[in-house]
Amino acid sequence: MKQKIDKQLVRHIAELAQIPITAKEEESLANDFAATLKVVDQLQKVDAKGVKLTYQVTGLKNITREDEVNKKNMFTQKQALINASHTYDGFFVVKRVIDAK
């Protein structure tokens, strides 16, 4: 899984993750990533051919519930909006994302 970590890649990842970073951070993050991925690379040395993946450990399967409204576990509109930075007329106000750039 070798891949060169440079500032350009860090900038790209930051964009994907929507994390604003400064030019100075690009460099230190690139160094940290390289150090961390070196540790991750050790996995290549393990023979894991044909081994099943573990996504969860309890063995639980398809946990469902009745499709009913649980009124005890429901927010009022006011509660749902209480931590929002901008609201209007009972709605969240969000920044424009289409054609944002």
């Binding site: 899984m1 990533f33 894991a48 993946l53 573990t54 450990v57 639980l60 929002a84």
Partner: protein
């Protein structure tokens, strides 16, 4: 000095009407007042309580890590993004605590978003180790462990993803119990890595941990990964002989552990004396666990923390600290399609191998024991420039976390010069908290390392 009581002592003395709840709270609040400015244990303090004589926890003051959502009380996870976040619902575990008569005395400092093993990543300043203030308390549940060590509460709650209960417990010389994954509900806890997050007790004694676990465990319909496995009465595992138990000692021949192992190994003799069989066993190299954990945790973090922005939480993603930025971005990277061999899939395969390795060992041994952390509490400032600080400090616990298996850390050595402790990590198969409690309780009661038992 009633703040120094263990949970069990406090309950008994209240039952016998030897003391009043008001007196306990007064002493706990005064311990907080005297020490919190220096130690930075609590981010929020609550002085209101109700006496609840008919409930098992009586209204006693319990400290809670600040990643448990508490309805109407700011919950920050020690992050600036959640600086003003007022949850409109209660986490299942704190609800259960309240239902049992526990009162939250305060929300404790932690590594921001639980990312770390030191509390140095908290965006509200680090916590200092009450045993020696030049040293760190560990983390991420460092505030909860410090609150217990400094008797600024009667007991506390923390959460562990890989070491975050046990490592701070070890560094602060207290008891930390990580339950089996799914034993305690994750509902309402600010998520870190959803496939391993496990809330659990951090307490003065093993007995206290068993009591608290009894009250917070159980299936929760609001958390699909919580198990309907029956909750036994964990206090029944106390005061039980351990003769005929088979104990496997692992991670004894790791490079770099030689010096602490010299202090740790003699402590194991008590088990033989108590009639258990003690043998050295060989587990897979923990360096693989570090690699697996790093990939799995970063990946899950990037997904879990994607939901946080200023639309719903007032403060934006520019407020993430350095550690959170690193973890989110690295996870974004490990989940992306640029690799030939996908690191996430490969990590989940090696995770399977690590689990199988432990399962094999558990065919031969009832419990596995190792050091909790590779050494004593590190000095303040130790995390600087160390990209993998947490992973290295937690490597001896990572397999039990990745596999979901329960474990406990108990004090097993104290350095007289520094007043710092070593922790013993006792692990058992899935759903066998009873075994870790049984063995830990036997050790605690037959040695002098627990500072509350010593003062009995």
């Amino acid at each position: 000095m009633l703040n120094k009581l263990t949970l069990k002592q406090a309950i008994d003395k209240l039952d016998n009407k030897k003391i009043t709840l008001e007196d306990i709270w007064a002493d706990v609040l005064s311990a907080i007042k005297n020490q919190n400015d220096k130690l930075n244990v609590y981010l929020a303090i609550n002085k209101n309580f109700k006496s609840q004589p008919n409930k098992p926890l009586k209204g006693l003051p319990i400290a809670v890590k600040d990643n448990f959502c508490t309805k109407g009380t700011i919950t920050t996870a020690s992050s600036l993004l959640l600086k003003d976040f007022v949850p409109q619902f209660e986490s299942t575990v704190t609800q259960k605590l309240k239902d049992a008569g526990g009162e939250i005395v305060g929300k404790t400092n932690m590594d921001a978003w639980a990312h770390g093993s030191s509390t140095e990543t908290s965006q509200y300043g680090k916590t200092l180790n009450p045993r020696n203030t030049q040293h760190l308390p560990g983390g991420s549940s460092g505030g909860s462990a410090a609150a217990v060590a400094a008797d600024m509460c009667i007991a506390s709650l923390g959460s562990e993803t890989a070491g975050s209960i046990r490592q701070p417990a070890a560094w602060c010389g207290v008891v930390g119990l990580k339950p089996t994954y799914g034993r305690t509900s994750r509902y309402g806890i600010v998520a870190m890595a959803s496939s391993t997050d496990s809330p659990g007790p951090i307490t003065k004694t093993v007995e206290d941990a068993a009591i608290l676990l009894n009250h917070i465990a159980g299936h929760d319909p609001l958390n699909a990964t919580s198990s309907s496995e029956k909750t036994p009465n964990f206090t029944e595992s106390l005061d039980k002989p351990i003769e005929n138990l088979k104990i496997g000692i692992i991670y004894h021949n790791l490079e770099g552990l030689e010096n602490v192992w010299k202090l740790f190994a003699p402590q194991l003799k008590i088990f033989t004396k108590l009639g258990a069989s003690v043998k050295y066993a060989q587990a897979m190299d923990p360096k693989h666990a570090i690699s697996v954990y790093t990939v799995v945790q970063r990946s899950e973090v990037s997904s879990n923390l994607a939901r946080f922005d200023d639309v719903r939480y007032q403060h934006g993603r520019d407020t993430f600290g350095n550690e959170a930025k690193k973890r989110i971005m690295l996870g974004t990277h490990t989940l992306s399609k640029v690799f030939n061999t996908h690191p996430y899939s490969l990590a989940q395969k090696v995770r399977t191998l690590l689990i199988k390795d432990y399962e094999k060992l558990f065919k031969k041994y009832d419990v596995l024991i190792s050091l909790t952390s590779p050494g004593f509490a590190k000095k303040v400032g130790a995390t600087e420039g160390s990209a993998m600080f947490g992973e290295l400090e937690d490597m001896l616990m990572e397999v039990s976390s990745l596999s979901g298996m329960p474990g406990i850390s108990i004090p097993c050595y104290r350095d007289e010069k520094t007043n710092l402790y070593l922790g013993m990590n006792i692990m058992a198969p899935m759903w066998r908290e009873d075994l870790v409690i049984q063995v830990a309780d036997a050790f605690e009661k037959n040695t002098d390392w627990n500072s509350w038992r010593k003062n009995d």
